[in-house]
């Protein structure tokens, strides 16, 4: 029993003798001391009626009793608290409605006060080699909010888990430091609220509103590009915040230095704390992510399927999540595990469609990349600087576009299909050992 509840128990015994039984069980049964701050006792009460009545009728008596136990008590405040205990488990007795399916209502997705989604926590955040730096930086921020890395700036492409990480930091800070007021918002929201505030001539209220927070998390800061008034406001906001040792966390899809249309003074300030990148997740991490997502959906997938999923979706964790949702839904519907083929079909239908490119365009991109003449790919020349790009073209056409070996040969200057097979196999083998080659292919793919 903590000292507060002990103190309150003792106080209650005294109060019970002083008031009538009816009064005691109506007004005092569900009260407890929440915390004590500089001599002020915060008393948790179940509703406003109790708050009002205790204040009106019993305030002085309670205060006197508390003072007898502890001289340091100066004042008493009442706080209406949510009654958590009453939420029991699901009742099963509603037999008459039972056969109707219930809606898949998702619970309580965001907290009104801080705008955080409680589902984003570190418990379900997968840490892999790709994001361990960002993760470590966030942990440092949590240990000492407002001081070590201020601001924390996280950047990375969409679907890499920036929002999850930032919200997890918020949720963790909330857990560790219940007194800290924090707020999560998208930069778009900041912008539109500022816009309304300017229109209604209430900029000062707007400023005051945000300045009461100890931690502000702002997502997708790149939307501020080219918006001067917003940037100016953010700049002032920034200074007030940082000077008073309060934590700011930002995210964006790019490094602050390469967001175009951003003022230099902001750029400098973003970079002043800690700037971390969440790069593309590696295959192992993606597999861990797939497994983790499966676990939350209560489905198990065979290893080969997991590997296939992880290798087909490379840069976007959100897409992985989407696919797992579809798989889980279909598994429920068909009531059996899906085969690899079925999953491949799902993948085909649900991942973003690959752009259709003609062979000529692929050739052009590859030859541009290697800085050689387009024509030479189709020629019979065996110059070393041409052979490699030619093999890369074949490999990509086969692997990414699924063209048949003979037609690849035919399109690339009428080669025999065995030549194409050889080149394809060769590149496939070399990728495993030659990191330079695999990087090159990665870059070419990103240009397609």
């Amino acid at each position: 029993m903590n000292p507060h509840s002990k103190m309150w128990q003792t106080a209650l015994i005294e109060i019970e003798t002083a008031v009538s039984q009816a009064n005691f069980s109506t007004w005092f049964k569900e009260t407890r001391i929440l915390k004590e701050e500089e001599g002020v006792i915060f008393l948790g009460v179940p509703n406003s009626f109790t708050q009002e009545w205790l204040y009106k009728k019993f305030h002085n008596s309670i205060l006197r009793i508390l003072r007898q136990m502890n001289d340091g008590v100066r004042a008493l405040e009442y706080v209406v608290v949510k009654d958590e205990e009453k939420r029991g488990g699901e009742s099963k007795k509603n037999g008459f409605v039972a056969p109707t399916l219930s809606m898949p209502l998702q619970d309580f997705y965001i907290n009104k006060e801080d705008n955080l989604n409680p589902r984003y926590t570190f418990d379900n955040f997968v840490v892999g080699p790709f994001n361990e730096l960002a993760h470590a930086a966030s942990q440092t921020v949590i240990k000492n909010p407002g001081h070590t890395y201020n601001p924390l700036f996280i950047y990375g492409d969409t679907g890499r888990g920036k929002t999850h990480l930032m919200q997890a930091v918020g949720n963790q800070i909330k857990k560790l430091y219940p007194d800290k007021k924090l707020f999560y918002m998208t930069s778009e929201r900041f912008g539109s609220e500022l816009f309304i505030a300017i229109q209604e001539n209430k900029v000062q209220q707007f400023k005051d509103r945000y300045r009461k927070y100890d931690v502000v998390i702002m997502d997708d800061i790149q939307f501020f590009a080219n918006k001067e008034k917003f940037q100016e406001e953010l700049f002032h906001f920034f200074n007030t915040f940082k000077d008073s040792g309060r934590q700011l966390i930002f995210s964006s899809d790019k490094h602050p230095n390469i967001i175009t249309g951003l003022e230099d003074r902001l750029r400098g300030r973003f970079s002043a704390g800690m700037v971390v990148d969440i790069p593309e997740p590696d295959l192992e991490s993606r597999m861990v992510i797939v497994r983790a997502k499966c676990a939350t959906h209560n489905i198990t997938l065979p290893e080969d399927v997991i590997e296939h999923l992880a290798s087909s979706i490379e840069d976007n964790i959100r897409e992985i999540e989407g696919i797992i949702n579809v798989i889980s839904c279909q598994t429920q519907l068909k009531n059996k595990q899906l085969s690899l083929n079925e999953i491949k079909n799902i993948l085909k239908n649900n991942t973003k469609p690959k752009k259709t490119l003609s062979v000529k365009e692929v050739v052009k991109i590859v030859s541009d990349f290697y800085n050689i003449d387009e024509e030479s790919i189709n020629n019979k020349t065996r110059r070393k600087e041409v052979v490699r790009p030619r093999q890369v073209v074949m490999y990509i056409l086969r692997e990414d576009f699924g063209m048949s070996f003979p037609s690849i040969g035919e399109k690339l200057g009428g080669r025999d299909h065995t030549t194409v097979i050889h080149s394809y196999e060769k590149v496939k083998e070399e990728i495993k050992t030659d990191t330079l080659l695999s990087q090159e292919i990665g870059q070419v793919r990103s240009m397609l």
């Binding site: 406003s48 009626f49 209406v80 939420r87 699901e90 399916l101 219930s102 209502l105 309580f108």
Partner: protein, 368 residues
């Protein structure tokens, strides 16, 4: 304490307050209406610690004072007094209240007033005015869908929020969901709130009685409505309503447009033969131009009813709880309704066809 007042006015006030006063295990005085007479005003007060109400009444005061009268007894007695010369006199004589009208006299025992709680107010909140008629319409359109069980307080409430010039009212017990949008001008600082559904009926009753614009104030814990002589305050649920918008189907595979009355009549017939789960079997066959409702009860019998309907899309056969469908029609004010189906395990969407398109209703199908 002694005062005289208009009998009709007192009757109405007592009837309103009586609904709120209730049996309370630990605090018996809550079953009373507190009447406090000061100057030429009598204030009636009632609460069950979840809702509170204050009603002001102008009276002719002979002597000021306070009294707590058991609500049931007072209300039953007043409602039976013949209303002849419209005036009634109340006088506190040694712990009993004596009520005298032209021909009737009654003496009611009172209770000690000390324990009667005060009604909380929301002093720091910004107030705004809104039409009680519209607000009642919104509440009434959805409140029957709220959950009866108190396991999830969020679901046993009506969720009221503001979006783009509308105020939206939503309630669901997770088997069906009703949503009504109403154009009400309210200021932007209005936060979304969850009003407990058991308090909604008291609020509706009071606002219907007021029937004019009301002053509304709300904070994290309370919402209050005030108009002239009447003040009602209710607890609100500190929670977050589920993200229901994501379960509204965005498109549909089958649609049936039927006359509301036809469909309702057919449902009523079929209900005679429905089983203990109120199950009705609906067949929609656009190709065969058939919209059929079927029920079967091994102990009673069975029935099939055809309903005239305009049908599009794929054939579907699906089961529902009769009650859930029928419930929604009280909020549909057009003659015909559209029923949209998306698949066997997905909700059916009910929308009015003409007039205001501001109502939407989802019903989940049955399992078997």
């Amino acid at each position: 304490m002694k005062f005289e007042t208009n009998l009709q006015k007192l009757k109405e006030a007592v009837t309103l307050a009586e609904h709120i006063a209730g049996i309370h295990i630990t605090l018996p005085v809550l079953s009373c209406i507190l009447i406090e007479v000061k100057k030429n005003i009598a204030m009636l007060r009632a609460t069950n610690l979840d809702v509170g109400m204050e009603i002001l009444l102008s009276v002719k005061t002979h002597e000021e004072g306070v009294v707590a009268i058991p609500a049931k007894t007072l209300s039953s007695f007043l409602s039976q007094i013949p209303d002849q010369n419209h005036v009634v006199q109340l006088e506190l004589i040694s712990g009993n209240i004596q009520i005298i009208s032209a021909k009737t006299r009654g003496v009611i025992k009172t209770m000690p007033i000390e324990d009667f709680p005060s009604i909380p107010s929301i002093p720091d909140a910004e107030q705004f005015t809104l039409s009680s008629e519209l607000f009642v319409k919104g509440l009434k359109s959805v409140c029957y869908s709220a959950s009866i069980s108190s396991v999830k307080p969020e679901l046993s409430s009506v969720y009221v929020y503001k979006d783009a010039g509308n105020v939206t009212f939503v309630a669901t017990d997770s088997f069906r969901l009703a949503e009504k949008k109403i154009k009400i001008n309210i200021p932007s600082q209005f936060n979304d709130i969850l009003i407990p559904s058991k308090n909604v009926s008291e609020i509706i009753r009071t606002l219907e009685y007021i029937a004019s614009d009301v002053q509304v104030a709300s904070n994290k814990n309370l919402i209050s409505f005030k108009s002239g002589d009447i003040y009602i305050v209710s607890r609100v649920i500190d929670g977050v309503f589920p993200d229901y918008r994501q379960i509204i189907p965005k498109n549909f595979s089958t649609e049936a447009i039927v006359l509301k009355q036809d469909f309702l009549n057919a449902l009523k017939v079929s209900n005679i033969f429905s089983d203990k789960f109120n199950q009705v079997h609906i067949t929609v066959d656009p190709k065969g131009k058939v919209f059929e409702i079927q029920t079967k009860n091994v102990d009673v019998g069975e029935n099939k009813t055809l309903v005239d309907a305009a049908l599009t899309g794929e054939r579907v056969e699906i089961n529902f709880n009769y009650k859930y469908i029928a419930d929604s029609f009280q909020s549909v004010d057009s003659d015909s309704v559209s029923l949209q189906f998306t698949g066997l395990n997905r909700p059916m969407v009910v929308r009015p066809i003409s007039g205001e398109q501001s109502f939407m209703y989802l019903v989940m199908p049955m399992n078997r």
